[in-house]
Each structure stands twice: as structure tokens, then as C-alpha cells.
Symmetry: C2
């Protein structure tokens, strides 16, 4: 079993993921928001690569059960019902709904990895459940950090390292690459206080500046759910 980590989607093209088992991480905030939406009863999340495509496919084909959600550069997109704060995705609002979702880094990373044989979404919120499932699955894994506009995101990298560390137990013969070794090292150095980490990273700082500080607390909650989002047929649903 081999685990590799990509620190940004620009490190690979779409076909790289063909047939692979891929885990997309976007701690701040797409992964955490998708997990929250599914926890709160959303039927499915449909990730898209452009805002234009989000608008195009939401035009009535889901019979009024569709919501548009997401952000561009942290801010809710004009005309969208929801932004990218987990706190907006409450039971009242999302239960039973299909949510077409765009975000600057996260949704685009998911779309890029769409040819994966298995495609999961992970954040600190479902870390242990995700690790347990991957251990059972016993396939080679690519962890795809959504990053920050092609740059490394420390919160995604630390989360990736925590996932590698959780899987890399004595009963598994794990082959680590330079990248997965680097991720474990970052996890060991930065994971003692996840909320503090999130408040000090480049993207965390931007979110605080733009008024989203309260989101950091939700995104920092470790193992708050066992929901595993699974992408299949262009939509993300809860893995059964």
C-alpha cells in the first residue's frame, strides 16, 4: 500500500487520477462545508469547476430542489443562495436538497480528480472515519490537497499528514513518498492545536480579515462526524 500526497492540484492533470483512490482535502472550507451539508441531510453536492457551469446546470433541471452554493476568493457569489461557511448549511436549509457547489480551490480539485476509481472528501471533521475506511479498502492512495491558488496550504498539508499518520499503523506495510513523509512531518509539528494552526495560516488569516473567524472553529473540530462524502456519477453523497 502506497500513499502519496499532492500539495496542489496543479501538480497533476486530470488523467493522472484515472483508476486511483483519491482523497480531496480542503480544510478551509470546502471539505468541511460539504461534510456539514451531508451531515445535515443534503441529498447530494454537485461540485463544478466554474461559476458559469454552476449557473447553467442549476436552471431548473432538478425541479426546484437545487441550491447554488460556494464562494470566489472567500466571498459568496452574487445570486448564489449559500456561501462557503459550514454554518450556512443547516438542516432547515439543505435537507433533501441537491447543492451545486463551486469554490476557488476545493470544488475545482474534486472536479479535477473525477476520473478516480474512488473519490472521497476529508477534513479534520471526519479524519478518523476516513482513515478507518481507507485501511479497510487497502488500496494505494493519493491525497490531493486543494491548496491555496496553486500554492501549498499548511492546513491542508497538516490534515493530509494526520491522515497518513493514522493509516500508517504497525499492521500496514505503507510505502511513503517524499511528499507523504513531508506531510507527516508537518502534522507532527503543527497539529497540537488545530484551531491555532488554522488562525495562523495564510488562508486562515484571509478568512479572519473577511469576517469568517467563526468558521475556523467548526473546521478545526476533530472527528465530529463519521460521514464520508463519496463522489460518484458527478455527485457527492454519503458513503453507505
Amino acid at each position: 500500500m502506497k500513499i502519496d500526497v499532492l500539495f496542489s492540484p496543479v501538480q497533476s492533470d486530470e488523467l493522472y487520477f484515472t483508476g486511483k483512490t483519491t482523497v480531496v482535502i480542503d480544510v478551509l472550507r470546502a471539505s468541511s462545508t460539504i461534510i456539514t451539508a451531508l451531515m445535515n441531510g443534503a441529498k447530494e453536492i454537485i461540485p463544478v469547476g466554474t461559476v458559469e457551469f454552476a449557473v447553467k446546470i442549476s436552471g431548473g433541471i432538478f425541479g426546484g430542489q437545487t441550491l447554488l452554493g460556494g464562494e470566489r476568493n472567500t466571498i459568496k457569489i452574487e445570486g448564489f443562495a449559500l456561501g462557503n461557511s459550514p454554518s450556512e448549511y443547516t438542516k432547515d436549509i439543505v435537507s433533501g436538497k441537491s447543492i451545486v457547489f463551486y469554490s476557488t480551490n476545493g470544488s475545482r480539485a474534486i472536479v479535477k480528480a473525477k476520473y478516480s476509481a474512488n473519490l472521497f472528501i476529508c477534513s479534520f471533521n471526519n479524519l478518523k472515519a476516513m482513515a478507518d475506511h481507507l485501511k479497510k479498502l487497502n488500496e494505494d492512495i493519493v491525497i490531493l490537497c486543494s491548496g491555496n491558488n496553486s500554492f501549498l496550504s499548511l492546513e491542508d498539508s497538516v490534515c493530509a499528514g494526520m491522515l497518513v499518520n493514522e493509516i500508517n499503523t504497525e499492521d500496514k506495510a505503507i510505502v511513503l513518498t517524499d511528499s507523504s513523509k513531508a506531510a507527516i512531518t508537518l502534522f507532527n509539528s503543527f497539529s497540537k492545536n488545530i484551531l491555532k494552526l488554522l488562525s495562523e495560516t495564510d488562508h486562515g488569516q484571509l478568512l479572519i480579515t473577511n469576517g469568517f473567524e467563526s468558521d475556523l472553529k467548526t473546521c478545526a473540530e476533530l472527528d465530529s462526524t463519521e460521514v464520508i462524502p463519496y463522489y460518484s456519477g458527478n455527485a457527492i453523497k454519503v458513503l453507505k
Copy 2:
């Protein structure tokens, strides 16, 4: 003064570097080889982005004083005089010569960063000299790791972290990004024994398999020279 680190050239396009002060690192082996060639009296190194371009521009325009050097996937290119082992670039062979140089990761990273206002080449061999010069220069810095075919290379990342750490002294007010914080963390974890590090990384392992183990020792030598390669007018020369 801000220091950023790119772990792979794919994280940016060519124009990103316009006007910037950039340091390219390719520990195994392009940086170390270029430094060795200049130490041993080469007139200049002309880095190129393709093998075809190397062959094209070496056709006589330098009046017989040109050598072709470099590798593709670690192996010397057919028809080239030199590969990418520092040990090949001896005084006897390179003194006074222009060397047209291609390598899988390093020369392409240098060419990508060609619009930089200042463009330097660094490895463990000239780490302290490079840091001292950058401290004097006092400009924002982008450290560009050549990486390993779009993936993170642990040896380049650790070298980048050592450079950041060496510059980040008390008398400098350095702004660190997620990436430069990550690089410092990797430096702290992996730099105790550089030769051991090089022998365990993905690319180090490949070099050992392909018979280049002796190169690792040269590439692991810390501060063996004060030569700083500087790119200007399409050629790399010793910074005076």
C-alpha cells in the same frame, strides 16, 4: 522582507517571476553540477528547456568552445559530452568553456524563472554564501524548488528550509508564508545528516539504482564553496 517557497515549478507560470528575486534549487543534481562547473572555471552555463534547443544552439555559434551537458531521467543524453554528475565537470574538461545544459527538472526550472530581476542557483554546496548575499540584497525572495517531475522533492525542500532559516535571523523582519514555514519545519526534521537524507529520498533512491551513488556525497557537502551562480543574458556565470 518576505520569503516564499515553491515546491515545484508547475505552481507558477513564467510571468510570475517578472521582476522578482528568485533562487532555484535542484540539489540532485543540477544546482550542484552548475556550481561545480563554475568552481572549476567554466565560462558560463546556458540552461535550456528542451534537448532539441540544446542541440540547435550548440551548432557552432560558440566557436568550438561549447560543450553539451545534462540528462534525461538521470541518464546522459546520447550525443552529449557530459551527463549531470558534478564529478564529470572537472577543470580539465570545463575550464573556459560555455556549457549548454539540459536536465529534467533543474534547467527547466531556471528557464521558467528567466524573467526574474535576480536569478541565483543554490544547493547545499553554497548555502551560507547564498544566504549572506540575500541578506545583503534585502529583497523579497522566491525560492523555487525544481522538484521531481511536478512532485515535491524532499531534498530540495529541506535545502530551501535551510536557506530560509539561515536568512531568518533576529536582525531581519522576515514575513513567512505557509510554504516557507513548511520548508523550515522540513529542514528542522531532516537536515541532521544530509547524506542520509539524500540517500533516502525518492530521487536519491533512483540515482543509487542507476549507479550515481557517489554523486550524493558531493551534493551533500555543506558550504564547500562561496561560488554563487547568477543568471543574466541567458547564461549563468559566477556572481562577482
